[in-house]
Assembly symmetry: C2
DNA sequence: AATTATTTTTAGGTAAATCTAAAAATAATT
DNA sequence: AATTATTTTTAGATTTACCTAAAAATAATT
């Protein structure tokens, strides 16, 4: 069975929204996909008949086994292409997401496997997100939110919480990327801003919003 | 302005059919695109309002300057991706066309330019067809049809006349590819078959149909 | 030149994916 | 518990890209 680009985008969005137990609501999906709730309802009915998800009206939606499998295949392609764009073609890590949104829908199975082999079976994409292998398995990241990092504990940036151009542009300006070493010097409870110090640099303050968008692992 | 995948496929098909002077007919296009004449008429009206072509009813169609520019951009992407698949990912030259049919619609301009640079600005794709550069210029091939090659003139295969799996499978079996050196030993007028001899191999006979699907350049 | 065959266009309709507006169900407040 | 607010679904349209069948234009034969 094959699926349209639109259907694939719905499956991927549900996959990203259904963290853990809960069910995904129609409105959440509408927001994520920049569409209207009525359109989402239509598509959920259709994807249900294709057995990609379980859905009862007014009760929200969850992916089926088949749905998860498809979602992982799309995420795998997205992240492999991002890795290719940064590693092979020298794109900046902040300019690959949109391109990968298109490339993730290229259907050739053989292409994905050959690309993976060419890249050397990378485990993480340029934003620190794990790349599912050909069986859908991916490394579990034990990284924590920067906001929860204790003061004076050396850590390394390992992921970002969003792919927005705005965030990535800010990180570029502050010279923060995946792999950047830093530690927290102070936390200010007034606005939850924190003072961080990058390795071999002066300390500076970043906002709560920025700290929450960064993930780090202890060293 | 941006165009749908369907629109791009129409523009590319017209480009390939309008060799030289003539105008392209509705039926030719319908055959090429595996669709019906009525659908073609609908689309031609639409593409005319977008100024990609000139079209008067019952008179056939030709691309405008804008249309040619778009067609060359698509052909460029198609052939660069084919080169990438064969050269970088080790695909066989007979298995890349379908994949490139999808990849040619990826929109990022930057991606094309970076890919071109990564590949070393190749001039010809794996089937011997010239790759347009970023300005739409491409090398003129002075290759001739194998059927027109004089007897006992050493030549080198430089192109194929079709991308069909059937043809490429036959060529693979006969160990003929781009760059293969050969010469014609005899021509049989009964069925227009020709006897060819590959470098360092015994001679064998090939059909008129196969000879017409091969292009060679003299050495 | 008239007839016949072929090509091309028009007319009308379908399916996918979207939308707005109204109705129905569920959740939150008083 | 009743009212109000929010979420979600249905109803009905729209757009794109198709299709079939019939009409119109052009080309080929007699
Ligand atoms: Mn991404
Ligand atoms: Mn990513
Ligand atoms: Mn091709
Ligand atoms: Mn080619």
């Amino acid at each position: 069975m094959s699926f349209s680009i639109t259907e694939e985008n719905y499956i991927k969005a549900i996959f990203h929204l259904q963290q853990g137990e809960g069910t995904v609501s129609t409105n959440e999906l509408a927001a994520e996909l920049h569409t209207k709730a009525a359109s989402v309802t239509d598509m959920l009915k259709k994807l249900k008949t294709k057995k990609l998800l379980s859905y009862e009206k007014y009760k929200g939606v969850r992916l089926s086994g088949e749905g998860k499998k498809l979602a992982l295949a799309i995420v795998r392609k997205h992240r492999l292409w991002e890795y290719f764009l940064v590693d092979t073609l020298q794109f900046g890590w902040d300019e690959v997401h949109e391109v990968a949104e298109e490339l993730e829908h290229i259907s050739s199975k053989k292409l994905v496997e050959k690309l993976d082999a060419f890249l050397g079976y990378p485990k993480f994409d340029p934003h620190g997100d794990p790349i599912p292998d050909s069986h859908g398995k991916m490394a579990v990241q034990q990284h924590i939110n920067l906001i929860d990092l204790p003061v004076n504990k050396p850590a390394e940036v390992s992921g970002v919480g969003s792919q927005s151009t705005e965030l990535l542009e800010l990180l570029k300006h502050k010279h923060i990327g995946i792999g950047t070493r830093l530690e927290i010097k102070r936390k200010f409870s007034f606005d939850n801003s924190i003072e961080i110090k990058l390795k071999n640099q002066n300390a500076f303050t970043i906002s709560q919003q920025l700290a929450q968008a960064l993930f780090v692992k202890l060293m």
